[in-house]
Symmetry: C2
Subunit: 339 residues, 2 copies
């Protein structure tokens, strides 16, 4: 099943989207919002699935054409947004670029930070930034939405609480990160509002590509219209989503609608070294920081700039037949203007 949220009001309005992303039908009478649906998922999902089947078969009453521009992130806001960093290749590069070793425990104990979930951006909304000096970056990631997760669940139990999958642009202000991390309390101002793919899908929509709690497909990232990366999201994700959800729930209950992110998708090169740019025959990257780290390791300093006002990033995922699964996050960076 594919779901989306019309960009109206604080929580939007839940709609059901056809598998081929052409037609939609309102979820009215079942759930007004995705938050409402996820809070009572076991009872409501079968009814949504029924309407989804009718939509795909062309027999849903009141169906209309999908307008991607009318969509918000599936959850325009959430009570819990926690982002992992499960592609340790990315973490290793960060460390390598500053000549630091990655602790051995990183292979067994997931990295995760708590994000702010109060005002997500729409997938096509401008990213407002105060200054280019803040080092504006995108991070292409995958995220899951859970229902209520009991405290201290095992990864096996956590797997059953993963109800929906989507893509993320975890907007990051790289220039603010060193200062914030030095303070010891983690990210805050360096992680402004994230955006999510216009469509979220149930795991079964991914078929064989959903395996071991990972999405085994490449994530496609374009920067100003040029392909910037197409890293594989499956093999190098050291912790699967069930492990990430269990990590988040170790000492507390997660409320329905919790969004757990994978961290920046990242692959080492086939030869085990740092990944190569697309232009050099590599799979590229899903954030600018990574190409800059690779440049620093190879050439002593970064050459690729961070995003400038007017720059545009597009994040999408295609199935093995080349069809877009989630629709695209497609955002331009603009200078913040006081209102």
């Amino acid at each position: 099943m594919k779901l989306a949220t019309l960009n109206v009001g604080r929580d939007g309005e839940l709609i059901i989207v056809s598998r081929d992303l052409t037609r939609v039908v309102s979820a009215t009478g079942i759930a007004a919002t995705l938050q409402q649906a996820i809070e009572d998922w076991d009872a409501l999902a079968p009814r949504l699935e029924e309407r989804y089947a009718a939509l795909n078969e062309g027999r849903a009453e009141g169906a209309f054409e999908l307008d991607m521009a009318a969509l918000h992130s599936p959850l325009p806001r959430t009570y819990d947004w926690a982002d992992g960093s499960a592609y340790l290749n990315h973490v290793q590069l960060v460390r390598q670029a500053r000549n630091a070793e990655m602790p051995e425990t990183f292979w067994t104990d997931p990295l995760m930070y708590q994000g702010g979930g109060d005002r997500f951006l729409a997938p096509s909304a401008d990213i407002e930034a105060i200054s280019e000096e803040h080092g504006i970056d995108f991070e292409g990631e995958i995220a899951v939405i859970t229902d209520d997760v009991p405290m201290a669940v095992t990864p096996e139990q956590a797997a059953g609480h993963i109800k929906l999958i989507m893509l993320v642009n975890d907007v990051s202000l790289r220039g603010l990160i060193p200062g914030e991390l030095a303070k010891g309390f983690g990210f805050f101002q360096a992680k402004p509002a994230s955006s999510f793919s216009p469509i979220c899908v149930t795991p079964d929509e991914l078929g064989d590509a959903w395996k071991d709690g990972r999405v085994h497909l490449p994530l496609t990232v374009h920067l100003n219209g040029d392909k910037f990366g197409e890293p594989e999201a499956g093999p190098d994700m050291i912790f699967g989503f069930p492990e990430l959800v269990a990590h988040a729930a170790r000492t507390r209950y997660l409320g329905a609608g919790a969004v757990i992110g994978s961290g920046t998708v990242s692959n080492p090169d086939a030869d085990g070294g740092p990944g190569k740019p697309v232009a050099d025959g590599g799979v590229g990257y899903s954030c600018l920081a990574e190409v800059r780290m690779v440049e620093t390791i190879l050439h002593g300093s970064a050459r690729t700039p961070f995003m400038r006002f007017g720059d545009r990033v597009r994040i999408e995922m295609f199935d093995r037949d080349g069809k877009s699964i989630f629709g695209a996050i497609d955002q331009r960076v603009v200078q913040y203007q006081a209102k």
Copy 2:
């Protein structure tokens, strides 16, 4: 005006509480929940104030007796829970206990971490913990609730977005903190669900005690029935709430219902040294970690244990006439049992 939330459903039910905390009346017909009220505060607050006036004058229809045990935290969940650490005396003690200097920038750039807001505890709910080895601690704090806050507001502008004030127990698992902070991403498992005072109040309820964006009253903390601390919340709060809200909003918009915390209330001793225990004529502390740091500084090691299963903490604030303003957070620690 004093508001509270009946503990029913995920968001509870908004009620209005009399100034003397004896009587309540439903907010029905104005707002079903506090979240709904804060989202449309300018329109709804005057109507709530009107009913509050009627309640205090004994002429509110349908008023009934206040039952503290029936209350949840004012916001049982929120989209944004960000906690500062504005009492730098506490931060200095942490550093001193491990022979580290506090950076000069800490005096000008607030510390703040992003918490999880999906499942707050009720003020009288048990604190479930997996193990005493996790170093179970309370943190007595003050917090404010804002309406929608634009990005990049000044502290002067932020002050106008502070609509409600309450107390917090920022439950902390001290044993998990060093490991998490060493990973560099900040707190996560070390900060399980917080709880809040049963009543939240508009700033005018504090009269002269609300000044410079700070609450100038002592915070009273009892541990297992014994007074553990009565630190003054006003003078040693280095950053007032307007500064903390502006810090939180520097690179992003805050959604209505954002909760911004002060950090552990903490005073140095009158002689400028580390604060003394109540038994030694000092004002005591609002968390166990602090007395342990003072013990470490004075005696080389901590003597006071963290909380054990069965231990109880009570956090309250009284006005200058000795009347409870917010009601009490009163919680027992219990061992988590898998359900």
